[in-house]
Amino acid sequence: MSAAGSGGGERPRGAKALGVVVALRAMRRALRGRARVEDPTVGAGGHAASRPPGAPVGTGPVDPGPDPSERTVPGNRRAEGAVVALLLGAGLLGFGFTIVYVAANASTQLLAIALGGALALLAAACIVAGKLVVPQETHVEERDLLLDEEQTEEVVEMVESGGEGISRRAALTGAAGVAGAGLLAAAATPLASLGPDLDRVHDTPWHAGVRLVDDEGHPYSADDIQVGTFYTALPEHGDPEAFGAGLVVVKLPPAYLHLPAARAGWAPEGIVAYSKICPHAGCAISLYRYPTYQPTSAGPAFTCPCHYSTFLPGEGGRLAFGPAGRALPQPPLTTDEARNLRAAGPFHEGIGPPWWSVHRGQS
């Protein structure tokens, strides 16, 4: 596209598009022509009489040549070399994907380059092989049934004489095998990541005494937390990218605070915290609504932007709407002498989307 765009500045767009089409057709014709030049048997290989009626007749000179069973398919050494190289490249990139994946902190860009490159090279190999290596002809060979023993021997001999092509066939097959193995390995590698990583679910950075800090590492004081807005808190000295690191923190007036009796002391001064990870599909809960005047609108709630699961912060994260299967996990909070907010313990249950046998306890 860019080549066409840089070609003519004054030409109208339609002419440019036409130019591109013409160029592509010319390229295609050239490819075909080359195949014909390097493969003289194409179109001249078989008896004209042996073609079924209606079959395409080659453009080359129709020559009642020798017995079709003796035809030779000429090798195109350069094309075969290119196909082998492309297939080997595809295989290498496929194995490269596995290596990048297994290596720690695999970058997704590198993974994409490896896998995409492998598939692109495989496709290129198929195209080159289809265009320049595989004979391009429709050939129907008519012959009698092989009843005669001599004839059978002859045919066997003929087939064996075709063995002279085995070397190139072996090279192509081997390269294709390498490419296939590389791509299969690339496809199978991610299986290693399947399955619930229970340690990450149960072992969050939140334990008794961990301070709540903001995204710049400043600890949250109970005086910072205002009614009618929400805060994202991270564990002090913890990995901020850990699955269970994010908390949403809000302060509620007593009128909205109806925590279950077992969580009576979990909300110092009405401040409650919940896991920021939605227990439905693991999205980050980033919507908070708080009424201006509750009698004429909805009450305070968290909503997950992915599928609109809605949780009530005043009622222990109870699900009020949406596809999530359970309440938001809640850690107990406390304040220290400096009025900083600290976790008083871990989440009341596992965080994140549900896995089999992970959340059998409470729900």
Binding site: L24, M27, R28, P56, I127, G130, K131, Q136, T138, D215, D224, Q226, V227, G228, T229, F230, Y231, P253, P254, A255, Y256, H258, S286, L287, Y288, R289, Y290, P291, T292, Y293, Q294, P295, T296, S297, A298, G299, A301, T303, P305, Y308, T310, L312, G314, E315, A320, F321, G322
Partner: protein, 285 residues
């Protein structure tokens, strides 16, 4: 046992027929009333008998600029007349509000009045409707007089904003953190459970600043500790920029969102795949 019960049920009643009829009527009406009573929403019992709003606007941070609206005794008097005509039926003659209908306006200050009136969200036909942006009912002079009247009852100053002082990159960062969850990163709005999230394409910088500090309707409010003056200027600049973003990808397709953009990418990819297939394939007939 069962036969005794049937005999007791079939025995002639000693209660006069009129009394029995009256009793049945009273019980039936009671049951009807119980059935017809709307299910009380959660927390309604706690908020019953209260006209104070759930949240007041956050004041601008110390040293931050504030918006200046004209004020004079004449304006306050004009505002009182307008208020009595158009607002007092819900918000009360003395701004005290009406329990269960509309909140008190004492102490809300100038920001919410300017925001709700200049965006046409007030007055509402039905107090239970969701306020939506529409053509303002009042002229700018009338809005100024209502601001003067309501803010004479006290309340925080309205914020001032200057998008030119903000940074576009920082505004993008802050908008992503605080606003995009609901308003979408292109500031086209969306929905949340219980409310629509408005499109910000018509909002003026002043309305943006007022909305950030007060949290209209169900929106959270943000104080100067969460979004300081520089962040506020930057967010306003980002929202203004979002109306005509520079499309780095080349073709913006009207910023209609990721799903239609992805669909168009699919169609383009399909077309190019067909072209490639046509190029590498052979015609056999």
């Amino acid at each position: 046992m069962r036969r005794a019960l049937v005999r007791w049920l079939r025995r002639p009643s000693r209660v006069p027929r009129v009394l029995r009829g009256a009793l049945a009527l009273v019980l039936g009406c009671g049951a009807l009333l119980l059935l017809a009573a709307p299910a009380a929403p959660q927390g309604a019992s706690a908020s019953r008998g209260r006209a104070a709003p759930d949240k007041f606007p956050q004041p601008p941070g110390p040293g931050d600029p504030t918006a200046r609206f004209p004020s004079s005794p004449a304006l306050v008097a004009e505002g009182r007349t307008l208020y009595a005509q158009s607002c007092s039926s819900c918000h009360g003659v003395a701004l005290q509000g009406r329990v269960g209908v509309a909140p008190s306006l004492i102490g809300v200050g100038a920001g919410p009045v300017d925001f709700y009136l200049s965006t046409g969200r007030m007055p509402l036909e039905n107090p239970r409707d969701e306020p939506e942006r529409s053509k303002p009912l009042f002229s700018r002079a009338q809005i100024d007089s209502l601001i003067a009247f309501v803010s004479s009852y006290g309340g925080p100053a309205a914020p001032a904003v200057d998008p030119a002082r903000g940074s576009l990159a920082f505004g993008f960062h802050e908008f992503t953190l605080n606003c995009a969850g609901c308003h979408q990163i292109v500031a086209r709005g969306g929905m949340t459970v219980g409310a629509q999230v408005p499109n910000l394409q018509q909002a003026t910088p002043q309305q943006i600043a007022e909305a950030v500090r007060m949290g209209p309707y169900l929106m959270p409010r943000f104080g100067a500790k969460q979004i300081d003056q520089h962040a506020l200027d930057s967010i306003a600049r980002y929202v203004l920029w979002s109306r005509s973003p520079s499309d780095r990808g080349g073709w913006g397709i009207y910023n209609i969102g990721p799903v239609p953009e992805g669909a168009i990418a699919w169609f383009l990819a399909l077309a190019s795949l067909i072209l490639v297939a046509r190029l590498i394939g052979e015609r056999t007939t």
